[in-house]
């Protein structure tokens, strides 16, 4: 099957969807490449990234279309005609065959690109502009296009001249809606790839910039502008994105999140510096960036609070700022606070949550109260996955071992306390879970272990023949 072809091939009469054998019969020296749908999608999305420089509202129209909502953007590029020209030329320079059109509705613009590239249709002129085009330009699908042609409706104008109820009755409501949109009556909303950020500031350069100092200077100037525009509405940024548009079309976006709304440009500046410093694949300016954009995609209203003399409040702010800085460098998931969970299972009793979002909750959390004058009942270091130990035998079937081998070293048991039986949560787990008997054990060297037997003796563990087998032993943690 032919997936796509170039101009020369279509001049020979080949068409998309034709079986390859037929095409070969028509043109024996055909050069064929395997279709790579994934790479095509990636390229389309890269082009969409590049198109972000014209408007933040870019939507994909797979397999090879893009919608740009340029409402209110055109004047920045010298009007609609100039914008269209810039876009088409820049893409053509990079080797893409582009057809583009501007119209009041997205469907109308798409119809135009299929027949008359470079057209700009003023508001209200949609019906007139697309009437002469064949119905296939609507892109309504093979069945409907054939159906329309059989009915003698060759152009869009023919179809439009029929009453909508007839069209709906014959071709369905979806087609009549599509037709209405194409004729400029109502519009289908496009589905932008990214939500519109709350605040955007950007800087374009006539001469591309490439040095680190220039990039840093640009970022701090943009941060000032962003803060100034947010300040007017009393907002602070929680999520910031800096996008660097390279001259050769590559766009690199870098995101920074904060635990509290940021209202100072120095903080933004520092967070980005940390982030840029720590990038695994550093920002590659290539031949330079011709545009840098800074946007705040999540903002919050900042409550201006009166600072009192309580140092504690100040401390928390500073801690949050430190957490933001560390998170900007090594990633938000790597800085955690701990929240107690309502369960007896040792490994899930504590939840590690990102500190940026849960700092306040963690500071208020209610931890189980310790029993006074008791030695610690839970180990200080807990293994993520209990480590199996070798136990030669236990004196009493339900009792603790006398000695065990862990990490190739033999430990003789001197002190034992237990068992502490922890049954698994049958109401949560799907499969059957074994009951654990935990023992606190001290060896001859004074090391203290938390070991458990996985399964009740002669009750829960069975071998292949259904006979009771001896349960396994594990080290789960180490006490101080």
């Amino acid at each position: 099957m032919i997936h796509a072809l170039d101009d020369a091939a279509s001049r020979l009469g080949l068409h998309i969807g034709q079986p390859l054998a037929n095409a070969r019969a028509m043109c024996p020296d055909l050069r064929v490449f395997d279709a790579d749908v994934v790479a095509d999608a990636k390229t389309l999305s890269d082009i969409a990234d590049w198109c972000d420089r014209f408007t933040p509202l870019v939507a994909l129209d797979p397999p090879h279309g893009l919608f740009l909502d340029i409402t209110g953007c055109a004047h920045l590029f010298g009007g609609e005609a100039a914008l269209l020209q810039t876009l088409v030329r820049a893409l053509a320079r990079q080797g893409f065959a582009v057809s583009a059109a501007i119209a009041g509705t997205s469907v109308c613009a798409r119809t135009l690109t299929r027949q008359a590239t470079g057209t700009i249709v003023a508001d209200g002129g949609e019906a007139e502009a697309i009437s002469p085009f064949p119905v296939s330009a609507l892109g309504a699908g093979e069945a409907i296009t054939t159906g329309l042609r059989r009915a003698g409706l060759k152009t869009i104008g023919d179809v439009a001249s029929r009453s909508p109820s007839e069209i709906t009755a014959r071709f369905g409501a979806r087609f009549s809606i599509l037709l209405a949109h194409a004729l400029g009556q109502g519009d289908a909303p496009i589905n932008p790839r990214k939500p519109l950020p709350d605040y955007i500031v950007e800087k374009r350069f006539a001469e591309p910039i490439a040095t680190d100092t220039m990039i840093a200077m640009t970022l701090s100037r943009l941060a000032d502008m962003l803060i100034a525009s947010m300040e007017k509405q009393g907002k602070g940024a929680r999520r910031l994105e800096a996008a660097f548009f390279r001259t050769d079309g590559v766009v690199r976006a870098i995101m920074v999140e904060t635990g509290r709304p940021v209202t100072r440009s120095a903080v933004i500046d520092r967070l980005f510096r940390e982030r840029l410093d720590a990038l695994a694949d550093p920002l590659d300016p290539g031949f330079g960036f011709d545009m840098v954009r800074l946007s705040a995609s999540r903002t919050e209203i900042v409550v201006q609070e009166q600072r009192d003399l309580d140092a504690h409040v100040h401390d928390n702010d500073e801690l949050a700022a430190l957490i933001d800085r560390i998170a900007a460098r090594i990633g938000g998931k790597r800085v955690v606070v701990h929240l107690p969970q309502d369960t007896h299972i040792p490994e899930s009793a504590v939840l590690a949550a990102p500190a940026q979002h849960h700092l306040a909750a963690a500071m208020q959390a209610e931890w189980p109260v310790r029993t006074e004058s008791e030695p610690p009942l839970r180990p200080l270091r807990l293994f993520d996955k209990p480590e199996p130990i070798k136990v030669p035998f236990a004196t009493v079937p339900d009792g603790p071992p006398h000695q065990f081998t862990w990490r190739r070293a033999l430990h003789a048991v001197v002190r034992v306390e237990g068992p502490e039986r922890i049954a698994m949560e049958w109401w949560r787990q799907d499969g059957k879970q074994l009951t654990r008997d935990y023992f606190r054990i001290e060896d001859a060297e004074g090391l203290r272990f938390w070991i458990f037997r996985d399964g009740l003796y002669e009750g829960e563990v069975f071998d292949g023949d259904g006979k009771p087998a001896s349960p396994g032993w594990y080290v789960h943690g180490l006490f101080a």
């Binding site: 270091r381 606190r440 203290r448 180490l478």
Partner: protein
Amino acid sequence: MSGARKSALATLRGQIERIETAEVVHQQDRVALGHNEVDGVLKGGLARAAIHEVFCEGRQGAAATGFVMGLAGRVSARRPLLWVRQDFSEVEAGALSMSGLAELGLDPRRVVMVRAADVESALRTSADALACDALGAVVLELWGDIRQFDLVASRKLTLAAQGSGVTGLMLRMAAQPLPSTAETRWMLRAAHSPPGPMWSAWGAPRFDAELLRNRHGPCGRWIMEWNCDECQFSEPSTYSQPVAAAPAHRPDPAVPWQRRTA
């Protein structure tokens, strides 16, 4: 030796002396640990705004963690604690358990954990954190001998700690001590529980702590016990569990026997 050279030497010596005394004045802020002998050797307690190193063998990791946690609990004085660890040490020694921390009498709410992927980012994060005076203490947990943690890195941490007043605690598991600018250096082992029957609770955590280096005093080796209720170290108790008081209405069996022989 010429006179000029001698005087230059004298000036330098004087300078060094002044620097050292300045440091002593600077490090007056000390926290008593609770163990009398240790506090005596440390001239009143563990110095704040300095770096302290705790070394241990690989399998003694939990004991050293407990000791560091105790030190951190003493110096941080209800301020947040930043615990920076390398990914690898969690695999080797297990993750720091907040339930276990609560059992030691310390507050898990004030612990912020940084899971650094490698040594470089761990060192850099702790240097940053030590400069932030909102923190009570910064713990850097590293596993194995580490080339990057040299005298320069150690000096950087010390300067940051001196500037902010935050205490830095280095937990070095399975590592050999190297020259550093640390105020004190400890070698930690787990200590035996006091003798008792096999089926009895082992009591409070006990540490065999050896002070290898002390910039302003002698070294030594002690058994220290962590008192979970009072959140401080103490001299080791002889019995792991509180002994039942002698019944008041019955005479002590030893006393009449002594009287008869007298």
